[in-house]
Symmetry: C2
Subunit: 343 residues, 2 copies
């Protein structure tokens, strides 16, 4: 076997190298590098100088194993490509920045199996906490979350039973609220346009709440249309054309997200359809991205950034009084924009 710390030039530097270069014990070097414990200014300088000139980068793997502490927070989300999760991430990052914790993102593509795998992988790094989208998980994933022994925050949705803490909105209620606003504005021939995603439980709950509230007013969905894949804007356009062709007397279209809603709006403007007179439109999410369209689509803000912030605060233990099991319900606000008739 080779001597310990043989002069292999490709080996990465260790604390020991810094210790030797500075003539200070490994332990003291460690203290300096972590700003822990009292170290004289003189030795601190020498150590930092040595570390810098060698280009030493601490090995967190060893540090984490020894200290049983990992400054990582796992964040598990379905997708990065729809504008909603990046905003959640922004909220999370903002809060974690001052805590020494670092978010690590995993993406599931709305697949429960993938979610389970990503979670397993993450937990195997023993993070300090997990923030995960949604309340629906495989039994196995749920068991892992329950047994992880760290703060777990399920985000976006509160219609269900969380493993530990939850921060989000009631999508069922959001759907109801939109239905009520639409009915109040006098629309009655209402169509729904959404995604073909059985695993998007939040969209599903909005749909259910929407239909429920219509039913209570004795109104049934006049038609519906679903899509999957492709550019959402374009799909919104195509679906709108299709549903209007099939059911020309619709007076309102409720889209399950703002992007397809915007596509629908653009279609209507191109066709010279009177919005919101002849046809009202609404989406969901409140994506700032779309500010700049000629007409502002009615929508409902999903409190994305705030959800990220609150979840991060819980993981970071900013609510010392509470041990966990906190449920934070945020209230989305309806933004009527220019596509619902004012009454």
């Amino acid at each position: 076997m080779t001597k310990p710390h043989a002069s292999d030039p490709r080996r990465t530097l260790t604390l020991r190298d810094v210790s030797e270069a500075s003539g200070v014990s490994e332990m003291t070097v460690s203290r300096v590098l972590r700003n822990r414990g009292d170290v004289s200014e003189a030795t601190r300088e020498r150590v930092l100088e040595a570390a810098r000139s060698l280009g030493y980068v601490p090995n967190k793997i060893a540090g984490a194993l020894a200290s049983q502490r990992v400054n990582l927070v796992g964040v598990i989300i379905p997708s990065l490509s729809n504008m909603v999760f990046p905003e959640v991430m922004t909220g999370i990052s903002e809060v974690l920045e001052d805590t020494g914790l670092q978010p690590v993102v995993g993406v599931t593509n709305y697949s429960p199996e993938r979610e389970e795998a990503v979670l397993y992988e993450m937990l195997s790094w023993r993070p300090s906490g997990v923030i995960i989208a949604g309340l629906e998980h495989t039994p196995s994933a749920r068991a892992m979350l329950e047994n992880a022994g760290i703060p777990i925050v399920e985000i976006m949705d509160i219609d269900g039973t969380p493993v530990d803490s939850a921060v989000g909105i009631s999508h069922r209620r959001a759907g109801r609220q939109m239905a009520e606003a639409i009915l109040a504005a006098g629309y009655r021939r209402i169509g729904f346009l959404g995604t073909k995603m059985p695993e998007d439980h939040r969209a599903r709950k909005r749909y259910e709440g929407f239909v429920e509230a219509l039913a209570e007013a004795g109104v049934e969905l006049a038609d519906q249309e679903f899509y999957s894949g492709g550019s959402a804007l374009l799909k919104g356009r195509e679906m709108t054309e299709a549903i209007l062709k099939r059911t020309p007397d619709l007076d309102f279209l409720y889209f399950s997200n703002d992007m397809i809603g915007a596509g629908g709006l653009l279609y209507c403007l191109d066709k010279g359809i009177d919005v919101p007179g002849t046809l009202g439109l609404a989406g969901f999410n409140g994506v700032e991205l779309l500010d700049g369209l000629s007409r502002k689509l009615a929508t409902m803000d999903a409190c994305r950034k705030e959800i990220g912030r609150r979840a991060a605060e819980i993981v970071a233990g900013k609510h010392e009084g509470i041990i966990g099991g906190e449920v934070v319900e945020l209230t989305p606000t309806l933004e009527p924009g220019d596509t619902i008739r004012r009454v």
Copy 2:
């Protein structure tokens, strides 16, 4: 001191727990869980059963320390919120999926200092490779990359000197190419609209290439306008209004990205400006997101997904023949869309 493995119910499970539960040595348990070495079918079963029923999740921290191997690839990008990097991520993920490697994302918000900090943090976890956007880094960051002793791939841009490997396009050339196409179509009074981001070197290089190529044809930029922050679509609209008010005889607007370009296009359509007759428009990126506008904006595909794929392949060592220092130049294609006059 407490006994080793005292019955603390909150302690996370170790290999030893599985070993005891299955009556097999830790070593053999480890072999089963990693599918390494020969293990009889009988013991394999027993071990897996024990691990499953206990809910054991391996500790990768310990594993990584012992094996000196980490299946993580650091990916450092400026932003998640502009549609270009999520696509790069998709390419990376697709390739890494079959390699056992896992991407870990760090975001710099276009700040060199933040980039340095994120890189340091990442390297301290000893990843198997790093994929990082751009060729411009702080001296300290560059030194870290050079000394990391792992594959480094700088992506998006190849106008410069890479630390190790690089995959991207020449933004300078992309700018030139667009200028040439615009000139060829007969436009002469050309305005530029971009972001106020000194650290977005790729946008800067496109601008430089663009201006250079104009100069060679004896044409100067007639006007320019810069923005920062806010909804890109809206900003594009506002900037377009501003620049046209100031310099009404412009016959072409070159936008530094598709989102502000789309804002400009919407503005022109609203105002009834004849596009591309009176005024031509072009952006950059080729974001699929915008398919669905009434008119397709001229743009240039930045090969985002392909860049991600190629970078991941290099990190994963799929090009065994080559030791590193590979530079892959991709060629963006001009998509004239409906906003440049056909000649």
